[in-house]
Chain length 351, copies 2
């Protein structure tokens, strides 16, 4: 069987971590007698500078013809950020209606962390991925008059909350049976109270899952103070964004955090991407940590039903990380991207 | 000279930490020959249950007659949260137009933290305190139809951004000369880009201060990964709320984080409050950590010009915390609120 993979390397370290990941996925699939057919799209900052748009108008259709997308990162100093963000990654998430962004964080043995006592940390953030603070609605009144008034509108709809909630409850049911909903209903009076209500209602279909509702400020502190009290978190688009960068710290930082933009049940390919950005400061130096991208690839394999290949990737990454000589600079080590990649490939071959 | 202090003990552990703090402020002032005149207001959850409102309609006027307010906490399980939040603390912040909420975080020697290597952490979050996501604007369309649409509107005005920015730049100028503005302009297109623009403009008046702009998700990770790279942070109301709870972790948790709701230059009393909430689970047991409230009191003394009294409080708190026998349960110790209070008073007397 052939897996039709689209890759969007993007900007900065994106191409480096994607190039490190593709052979890993290939090797993992071939061990099971499968093939990887890769189509690469040159979307991102360079294309914007050349053609005035980060991706073509029919990008969503092109992507729909594949089984899954591996995405690197976008962002470069000489392109306005929103051209790449709205013009590419937020654009694709919303056009493909990728309902949730799953962001698992797992502490791997051997990886140093700034937070004490992270052994066994293993949690997943289920981030609503299509609306909330990310609808792009609003405007600036009195612009330029000296009395500018920026208005930012967030939209939270029952349908979208419900589908994210079902994902989160189902996931919590398969894991520990504990779900934390993160809102800020004491200060924000309309959107988050609706979340609280709808999620509670959805929860009635999952009597085996215990639902806890936590304010986002308290959750930020708890994420660091008591991460093992957490298993599955459900959050809106903005809070999910903030909390997932924070949770990555528990695993050693952003170089370790994978994600999956998916719509389970819908006939649409997922987009799998490391949570880190394009990191222009270290781009082109061959020192980026490819682990977040490789683990995103493992999520991709899992979702396509290639669970043994996914396990192979994760085991090889875990084995590689056990040895500090394979740690990149973000983890306090000296390994290059290529060093890590060779180590992971070697681990897979000797499994 | 007499300091006219209003105290609003509030709910939960509020009365306990306020009761622990008042004698400390008293002792600190008396050493300089000053007096503390305390007026106590019974506002909060109990008043709401009795009278249907957490505070009287003329609360802001009553407060305006005093020099400063020491506020404990609000929140109790049997009262709808917004009645106490909008009906009291957010209400007062907005009615008194307390422009900024200053939230300093300092790691005290001897206090254990979940984050490694926090020695010397000393930062201040300047949180805009009157608008942004906290204006209470929005609504729910199609309510109850099964198609509910929650709409949440944030408002960011140039005037309000400017005054917060001036505070932050001036503070950064008196400290390290480094200011980090926290926004999310890659995803939110109107409010935060206005923040970026206005703060940059205000910065032209402070050429000695280096301005850095950081996305809120990246800042959450950096706060834990590299807290000593931070000095003064400027953030809107919501991000300031989230980041200040998170920053408290660097000092040992929410029991350690003071705050000052102030409008420097305006003739209005500040409200000084611990960042922690009412903590109903431990209320009434005499085990709450009074340090956040005591340090809020020190900010209060500072702002009234009683800087030597403020220093006395802070030094006594620092001295007390050096000894683990004076740590409350949140810091992993066994001390009671009364134990800590006696130790602080004793330290002040022997200074
Ligand atoms: C690039 C940016 C818009 C994006 C987001 O906020 O969603 C990123 O931070 C992420 O978490 O994937
Ligand atoms: C009680 C709540 C509304 C408040 C806030 O969000 O401002 C609290 O969390 C704080 O930080 O002072």
């Amino acid at each position: 069987e052939a897996v039709r993979l689209a890759v969007i390397p993007g900007d900065g370290i994106g191409p480096e971590v994607v190039a490190a990941t593709v052979p890993v996925l290939q090797t993992a699939l071939e061990a099971d007698g499968h093939r990887l057919d890769v189509t690469s799209f040159d979307w991102g900052g360079e294309r914007f500078l050349r053609q005035g748009a980060a991706m073509p108008a029919d990008a969503a259709d092109l992507v729909r013809k594949t089984d899954a997308v591996l995405f690197g990162a976008v962002g470069r100093p000489d392109v306005p950020e929103h051209e790449l963000v709205w013009g590419l990654i937020i654009g694709l998430r919303q056009q493909l209606d990728l309902a949730v962004n799953l962001r698992p964080v797992r502490a791997f043995p051997g990886v140093p962390t700034k937070v004490r006592d992270t052994d066994g940390v293993d949690l997943v953030i289920v981030r609503e991925n299509t609306e909330g603070e990310y609808v792009g609605a609003g405007g600036v009144a009195h612009a330029g008059s000296g009395h500018d008034l920026g208005i930012e509108i967030a939209v939270h709809s029952r349908r979208v909350i419900e589908r994210a909630a079902h994902q989160a409850f189902a996931l919590a049911g398969r894991r520990s049976g504990h779900l934390c909903l993160v809102t800020k209903s004491n200060a924000m009076r309309y959107g988050y109270p609706l979340w609280d209500r709808v999620v509670r209602e959805v929860g009635e279909h999952y009597p085996a899952v215990r639902l806890e509702t936590v304010l986002v400020d308290a959750m930020a502190a708890r994420m660091i103070q008591a991460p093992r009290s957490l298993d599955v978190l459900l959050a809106g688009n903005l809070f999910g964004d903030i909390l997932s960068d924070l949770a990555a710290v528990l695993a050693g930082g952003l170089g370790m955090a994978p994600s999956a933009n998916v719509h389970p049940g819908a006939d649409v390919p997922g987009i799998y991407e490391p949570v880190h950005g394009s990191a222009p400061d270290i781009a082109g130096k061959g020192v980026a940590n490819p682990v977040a991208c490789m683990l995103s690839g493992a999520l991709l394999l899992d979702d396509l039903g290639h669970t043994s290949a996914a396990r192979r990737v994760r085991d090889a990454v875990a084995g590689t990380l056990r040895d500090a000589r394979h740690h990149t600079a973000d983890l306090g080590g000296k390994a290059t991207t290529a060093d890590v990649t060779s180590a992971v490939l070697y681990m897979m071959e000797s499994q």
